[in-house]
Amino acid sequence: MKRYGGRWARNEEMADYHAESEFERRLDAWAEAEQLEPRADLQRELSRTLRASLKPVKPLPSNGVLLLQFLFAFVACATGLIAILGKSGIHIMTAAQVGGMAAILASGSVFFALHLVSRIIPGNRIALPFWLGLALVALGVGAAMALLFPWRMPGAFVAEGWPCAVLELAIAIPAAAMFWLMARRGALFASAGLGAALMAPALCLALMADQAQCMFPQAPHLLVWHGGMAAMLIAAGAALGRIIARRLL
């Protein structure tokens, strides 16, 4: 039995070896198949068309410089907005609340700025997929709001809440436009991801300024009026990106 079993195993190994060789051979044959040459007239036409608008261009700066430019814009806007809107909200928060929210929003801003730099340069390295990063930041912000702030329902939930949501909207839309103006120096390919990627750093900025002036540091208020508006704006950014991509085609 052992002898037949050993022969059977050897036959299987041989069959596997032959099958693998066959697979490699056919894959290589497919890869080496006909080398397609574009039509000569098409190549001439392409060269002629492109030559007509051939001018010297200056390459974009390095990823590090682009990242610093995005972050500088973010910090300058955040500082200016907090100076204008006031920081009364910061005074009524505990150190843990201020530190936790600032750390998460700052990390989110760095990630989204990094992602924008990767997105505007074709063939750039991606460290973390955008939607995964977005989900992590959203989870972090949601967890911070739910765990660091007390679960007390304010007296007038809607009356106290909607001004915060409107303020967030009023900051996020122009901020997204500013990031778009900065990003369009690179190569932008319209998509849902691009819409969300432009809206995400704008929302970090809006959440930071909104939180700094908000006088209602309670979990339900923050989750619904700050977090809820952020989720709606991300969805709106993605939808807008998708619509623009379809319209352009």
Binding site: D28, P38, L60, I121
Partner: protein, 190 residues
């Protein structure tokens, strides 16, 4: 086995000259890169005519985005990333047109597509490749036909090296199984 049809250092110098408005460098780039792009588009189950159209679109996008190339970076992933966006845009456009199409009961004789004849000419392995999901087929074309590294494919497809490895592995497994079925056994699984 993967091939390296074009030396990236040559392309870097051509790209730098192209950014400086050197027309000869542009012609040389068009001559060297177009066959790769054409093969990439045809590898996406596209007719030769459609692939020619996409090649033109792609070169216009490359031309408009040429300032985003930095001489310190590899050229091939940069070009393939633009080609990929061109193909995705064309795919979206095609889906939109298909959704708007009016069903015609009797298609005139001359309008029949030549796909069945083309399919007959296709080898069995080509059909297996054509049956792969788009992302896996794209990964195979970049790895095996363009001879790109995993890192370069990851850059071109805006994904991670791990995701590229996974797509390539799944493509190989599917092809091994299909080959096994063709031979009449269960196929290999690694």
């Amino acid at each position: 086995m993967s091939r390296s049809p074009i030396d990236d250092s040559d392309l870097r110098s051509l790209m730098t000259r192209y950014q400086g408005a050197d027309a000869a460098a542009l012609d040389e780039l068009v001559r060297r890169v177009s066959p790769l792009l054409l093969r990439y588009f045809i590898g996406s189950r596209m007719s030769r005519g459609d692939a020619d159209d996409l090649l033109q679109d792609c070169w216009i996008k490359i031309h408009r985005s040429r300032h985003t190339y930095r001489p310190s970076e590899p050229v091939i992933p940069w070009i393939y990333a633009i080609a990929r966006h061109t193909r995705l845009d064309a795919h979206r456009k095609q889906r939109r047109m298909e959704a708007r199409e009016v069903l015609v009961a009797n298609v005139p004789e001359g309008l029949h597509q030549t796909a069945p004849e083309a399919a007959q000419e296709e080898s069995g392995f080509d059909r297996m490749i054509a049956g792969l999901p788009e992302a896996q087929r794209e990964t195979l074309v970049m790895l095996k036909v363009a001879g790109m590294s995993l890192e370069e494919v990851a850059r071109a497809t805006s994904s991670t090296v791990g995701a590229v490895k996974q797509r390539a592995h799944r493509a190989y497994e599917t092809l091994r199984r299909a080959l096994g079925k063709e031979r009449g056994d269960g196929g290999l699984s690694r």
